[in-house]
């Protein structure tokens, strides 16, 4: 779609990218780009990054703790040398051209110096002014100077100027001197080559649906409020309590589609995520408090994603979540108890009423006014709902060249799809700017490392007061005195804030002055501050692993506020334990691995071709291995999209482009015979006919696609009038489609059953598409769609609505009473007799079908399992490849250097496959753009003298980092340092103590244990 009208001369391009929105999407884009050689500006209007994900308690379908998986990414983003985070900032305008934009950014004052604030929280402790806690959705209060949540990045407080009365207390109590009342609004201009829009979307304002009583009845809450209620760090500490009286609600009703699929409020689209998150909330609520009985009132259950249906089934069976298909008419409060009576109409038209203790409104998402304004400022076209306009084959491109989009801003979507798109958008920006890659990134230079091996330990101990956070409870001077008495401690001192920049200079000077070769900081959490201190000692010429940190704040002073004496003693113990370990620590090397700058793409369908082309555009060689004799895969059977795009034409273009690209080598009729090696250094054997070809690759992208299920249900194959959806599509594409009276489509053929328990995701849209085509060609054709749930998620919902308007008849059937097809003679003709029980009128319906169309499942190719073994990557129960993490690493494998995209991962649509393919490339680029990859320093090592090659370590290693090797002295386990992550499961499992973990050796840990007084 996007043809660059004014191809920018490569000379003028700028090697930096602006990412707007600091939610999970923006963070992912920023990290991908920064890792692959671009300078990134990450702009967020809030005071901290993290977006909606930071507010969630758990995530579906794995029930992962949202904060657990998000916070490492936040920290990485905050510390990355090439990501500049601009908080409290909004983009107000853009000029220039693609490849070289000038973007003006308005930066609101924060009134707290980001450089100086240590996040200690004293200011908020004393601030006399209360305000509504918006992060907790108004369920509780916060102070005028505040931070959104304790793990926030940047960990810097902010003054809510609206609420602040300017009393000056925060400045008085701030020991870091970080309060700056003189802050003014500033406008800065950023020069960037591309822009990625990841602004997310806003929750639907539930007050607009007044029939549900939100805002009037305290016990009607929105789903996002309920997330906070569930959250362990939320207002009720994770106890499920209702706002009216703090009681634990027994019966909770979840009302679906509030502000979604609703023409009356202008949001006729489906918000895609609500069915799943409500189910998750129901399950988690039940987990928190077993007495809770959740009920979900829904229209269609749209659990269309990977492993979603399984999740729904577990919710029903294991957790007893009740699902009721109905329409809600009204919610009314019962005056005395403040319980709520929910009035609803069941599918069969019966009116019911039921009383609940709490009602959760599953609100949808809409683009906020703010975002619309942003789009206007940038000149980006919006669709009728206010989402960014995109097209199926260009899912990441806005109407303006050089500005890309990901996440909720193009349509409502869940976290993995957002993350996928974010990576994909990064890939698009990378394509555009590949010629200026690496031009603006900073690299830190360090002095040569001193060799301290063989020297006796000379330990320096730095004890932090953390303002009064530590010093107010723990007797810091006495801890320092005590530290001085410990063996090998050469120097000990205390600091007001050990993390302040002047203290870093002190540490460096002390290392020189006292000849220190081990450094201990006793202060806060290594999770946030260890990298800072490691960098400091590295700047002083010490190996970064010669550092040890002990936490005397979060785990001592703060939790023993009322027992200063015991806290001081504990702090001394902790310092002693740290010294014990520090005496044992040794410098560690990070293994550097060379990288072959060539990628391997397995599969030549849409995903594979897109991946190959994207990689080539980033400047890397690619080999594409396709098992068939033609490129195109599944896409070859699809003729047009719901949006009337000509699929075949797009396919032809793609094939032409890929064939013409000199960096791409295509192997048709080819198979992967063997893959060995590891990240950056794979060796692949490809067989093409009888020929065996050996190739080196730095990364592997798995894009083996999916196949159409061949049904044995409904007499398929026995009658030419019974065909699959794809066959129908083919028929429609031929000009001579005969006139048809009745067409019956049956959904979920081969999906959502015992054999294939998953939803194939695309079939509902496919049926709607074909039905509309049929109706378009001959409006008097009767089209019946027999379905279980209509899963036209996101903006596809619009087409579903159109189909209904066009007279397509939708009849729901239950899994236990499937439609039956019989052949019968009617008026001398043999007709297909379809019978189905219609739950709305509560009786069987008989249709004589001229055509019976089966919406068949997408199934994984059988070869997946062979390939999986070869690559040592997992596949799930259904035979699709299993990514490293369902939420945040949707295209990665746990094994580094191997990625997955397209239907190899799970059934998906064209735009989703394209996005995933590009995402895989983006992830791959963060490796391919480097000449060397640094492996982790904390890794396992094997003592071959002790190893009995029992293979137990191999079994527990989740990263396939251990192999058994033949040596002259027999078999022994060998650790692949490139793959090892250093978790230590092998070491702790080894029966002969043959494995140890560098940086956490048995000796070191034992020394801590025996440091007991």
């Amino acid at each position: 779609m996007v043809s660059l009208q004014n191809p920018v001369s490569e000379v003028n391009k700028v090697g930096s990218v602006l990412v707007i929105g600091g939610g999970i999407g923006g963070i992912q884009s920023a990290l991908d780009l920064a890792e692959s050689g671009f300078k990134v500006y990450l702009v967020d209007k809030s005071s901290t990054i993290g977006g909606v994900m930071a507010q969630l308690d758990k995530t579906f379908p794995t029930n992962d703790c949202s904060m657990c998986i998000l916070s490492p990414k936040l920290v990485e983003c905050g510390r990355h040398l090439n990501v500049e985070v601009l908080t409290c900032s909004e983009v107000t305008g853009i000029s220039g051209e693609v490849g070289n934009f000038s973007v003006s950014v308005r930066r609101r004052p924060r009134y707290v110096d980001i450089e100086k604030c240590t996040g200690c929280g004293l200011c908020a402790k004393f601030c006399p002014v209360e305000a509504i806690d918006t992060f907790n959705k108004g369920l509780c209060d916060r102070t005028a100077i505040h931070i959104n949540y304790p793990q926030a990045v940047p960990l810097v407080y902010m003054i809510d100027k609206e609420k602040c009365i300017g009393c000056g207390l925060c400045r008085s109590v701030c020991l870091a001197d970080a309060i700056t009342y003189s802050d003014k609004e500033k406008v800065t201009t950023l020069n960037v080559g591309a822009v990625i829009l990841a602004p997310g979307a806003e929750e639907f304002n539930a007050k607009l649906k007044s029939e549900y009583g939100y805002g009037r009845y305290p016990n009607v809450v929105t789903s996002i409020e309920f997330e906070r209620i569930l959250s362990a760090s939320g207002p009720f500490s994770g106890r499920v309590q209702r706002p009216s009286d703090g009681d634990i609600p027994k019966k909770i009703a979840f009302l679906q589609c509030v502000g979604s699929r609703d023409v009356t409020c202008g949001n006729s689209y489906c918000s895609s995520v609500c069915c799943m998150y409500s189910t998750k909330e129901a399950v988690i609520a039940k987990e928190h408090m077993n007495q809770i009985e959740p009920t979900i009132f829904y229209i269609d259950m749209r659990s269309y994603g990977k492993d979603f249906d399984k999740y729904i089934n577990r919710a029903k069976e294991e957790y007893g979540v009740r699902f009721v298909r109905c329409r809600i008419s009204k919610v009314k409060e019962v005056p005395n108890t403040q319980n709520l009576r929910v009035k609803y109409e069941t599918e069969d038209g019966r009116l019911s009423e039921e009383e609940f203790d709490l009602v959760v409104l599953s609100i949808g998402f809409t683009p906020s006014e703010n975002i619309k304004q942003l789009a206007k400022n940038l000149g980006v076209e919006l669709n009728e709902y206010g989402f960014s306009k995109i097209q199926p084959f260009y899912p990441l491109e806005t109407s303006k060249p050089g500005i890309f989009v990901c996440g909720m801003f193009s349509s409502p979507k869940d976290i993995p799809e957002t993350v996928t798109q974010a990576s994909a958008a990064a890939a698009k920006a990378g394509e555009l700017l590949s010629s200026v890659r690496g031009t603006l990134v900073k690299k830190k230079e360090y002095p040569d490392e001193m060799d301290v091996r063989g020297q006796p330990p000379r330990i320096g101990v730095f004890v932090c007061h953390c303002g009064i956070n530590i010093g107010g409870v723990v007797g810091v001077p006495s801890v320092v005195d005590y530290a001085r008495t410990l063996p090998n401690v050469i120097h000990a001192c205390d600091n007001l804030y050990t993390c302040s920049s002047d203290t870093q200079e002190i540490i460096k000077n002390n290392i020189k002055e006292y000849g220190l070769n081990r450094v201990i900081v006793a202060s806060c959490s290594p999770r946030t501050h260890e990298p800072l201190f490691q960098e400091t000692i590295k700047e002083a010429g010490l190996n970064r692993y010669l550092f040890e940190m002990t936490n005397i704040r979060d785990q001592c002073s703060w939790v023993h506020l009322h027992d200063p004496e015991a806290a001081t003693e504990k702090a001394k113990d902790l310092v002693r334990m740290a010294v014990a370990k520090a005496r044992m620590i040794e410098p560690l090397e990070r293994l550097s691995l060379g990288v072959t700058h060539r990628g391997l793409v397995i599969g030549g369908g849409l995903a594979g071709m897109t991946a190959a082309l994207t990689l080539a555009k980033q400047g890397f060689e690619v080999d594409v291995v396709e098992k068939n004799q033609e490129l195109g895969g599944f896409l070859r059977k699809i003729h047009h999209t719901l949006e009337h795009e000509n699929t075949q034409e797009n396919l032809r273009n793609l094939v032409e482009n890929i064939s013409a690209n000199k960096l791409i080598q295509i192997f048709l009729n080819a198979k992967i015979e063997d893959v060995s090696g590891y990240v950056g250094n794979f060796k692949t054997t490809i067989t093409q006919g009888s020929e065996k070809i050996e190739r080196d690759h730095g990364i592997v992208i798995v894009a083996t696609g999916g196949e159409e299920y061949s049904p044995n249900e409904y007499q398929y194959g026995e009658d030419p009038r019974i065909m699959t959806q794809l066959e129908l599509e083919n028929r429609i594409a031929t000009p001579d489609l005969e006139k048809l009276g009745n067409v019956v489509m049956i959904q979920c053929v081969g999906s959502r059953n015992d054999e294939h328990p998953y939803c194939s995701r695309m079939c509902c849209g496919e049926s709607v598409k074909n039905a509309l085509k049929l109706k378009g060609k001959a409006p008097d054709t009767n089209v019946y769609i027999l379905y279980r749930d209509i899963r036209t998620y996101g903006l596809i919902e619009e087409h579903y609505r159109k189909a209904r308007e066009a007279g397509v008849i939708f009849i729901r059937y239950k899994e236990e009473s499937k439609p039956t097809v019989t052949k019968a003679l009617s008026e001398g003709k043999e007709v297909l007799h379809v019978s189905v029980f219609d739950p709305t009128i509560q009786e069987d319906i008989l249709i004589d079908a001229d055509l019976l169309v089966l919406s068949t499942a997408v199934v994984p190719p059988k070869e997946n399992s062979i390939l999986a073994k070869m690559l040592k990557v997992p596949i799930n129960e259904d035979g699709f490849f299993l990514e490293a993490h369902a939420k945040l690493r949707p295209v990665d494998f746990a094994t580094e250097g191997i990625f997955v995209c397209g239907m190899a991962h799970s059934p998906k649509s064209i735009d989703e496959s394209i996005a995933q393919a590009k995402a895989a490339v983006s992830r791959a680029c963060s490796l391919l753009t480097k000449d060397v990859i640094e492996a982790e320093g904390v890794i396992a090592t094997v003592n071959p003298n002790r190893c009995t090659s029992c293979e137990l370590c191999m079994q527990v290693c989740a990263y396939n980092a251990i192999e058994i090797e033949e040596t002259k002295r027999g078999k022994t386990a060998k650790v692949n340092s490139a793959l090892c992550k250093g978790c230590g499961a092998c070491a702790a499992t080894c029966r002969c103590s043959a494995i140890d973990i560098k940086g956490f050796t048995d000796m070191q840990l034992s020394s801590i244990i025996t440091a007991m007084r």
């Binding site: 308690d57 794995t62 029930n63 992962d64 703790c65 904060m67 657990c68 998986i69 916070s71 490492p72 929280g121 304790p150 793990q151 959250s231 362990a232 760090s233 500490s237 994770g238 959490s525 290594p526 999770r527 936490n551 704040r553 979060d554 785990q555 001592c556 703060w558 939790v559 023993h560 506020l561 806290a567 003693e569 504990k570 113990d573 902790l574 334990m577 490293a884 746990a894 904390v938 527990v956 989740a958 990263y959 992550k981 250093g982 978790c983 230590g984 499961a985 070491a987 702790a988 499992t989 103590s993 973990i997 956490f1000 048995d1002 840990l1005 034992s1006 801590i1008 244990i1009 025996t1010 007991m1012």
Partner: protein
């Protein structure tokens, strides 16, 4: 070794995985949730790193109880390390019991990065439990 006389309080060694439980302990701190000062934390990359031998060593060196805490099942930063740990400690617990060590001295829990309060409760419980058992003397080297 001091005896369980007046003023005796247990010393408990806690192995916390870096990604979830250690973060949970941090959150307890940030939220100022108070718990008894009897534990000393050792940070390990993963609960899977904790060798059963460390537990025995701890009991030999005068620690009165051990807590090992990792990510919730499914949340492990290293995919499955916590499950490995769980299996391991189930066996170890039986073994220690066989030696005559009260099962209450070895504790295993899941604490996520968002469960500051849970961490505080776990510590309180463990301290109470070990307190009621008195000093661990059986394995102490004399």
């Amino acid at each position: 070794m001091e005896s369980a006389g007046e003023g005796w309080t247990p010393k408990i060694l806690a192995f916390l995985c870096n990604w979830c439980s250690y973060a949970g302990a941090d959150l307890a701190g940030i939220s100022r949730m108070q718990y008894p000062p009897n534990i000393r934390v050792v940070r390990v990359p993963c609960s899977g790193r904790v060798n059963p031998y460390f537990v025995i060593k701890a009991l030999q060196h005068g620690w009165d109880g051990v807590l090992v805490s990792g990510c919730h099942p499914g949340d492990c930063h290293y995919i499955s390390g916590n499950l490995v740990a769980r299996r391991r400690f189930a066996v170890l617990k039986d073994l220690l019991e066989y030696f005559g060590i009260e099962p209450g001295r070895l504790n295993f829990s899941w604490v996520s990065a968002a469960e500051g309060e849970k961490f505080a409760i776990v510590v309180k419980d463990v301290v109470e439990k070990v307190k009621s058992l008195g000093p661990a003397e059986r394995l102490v080297k004399r």
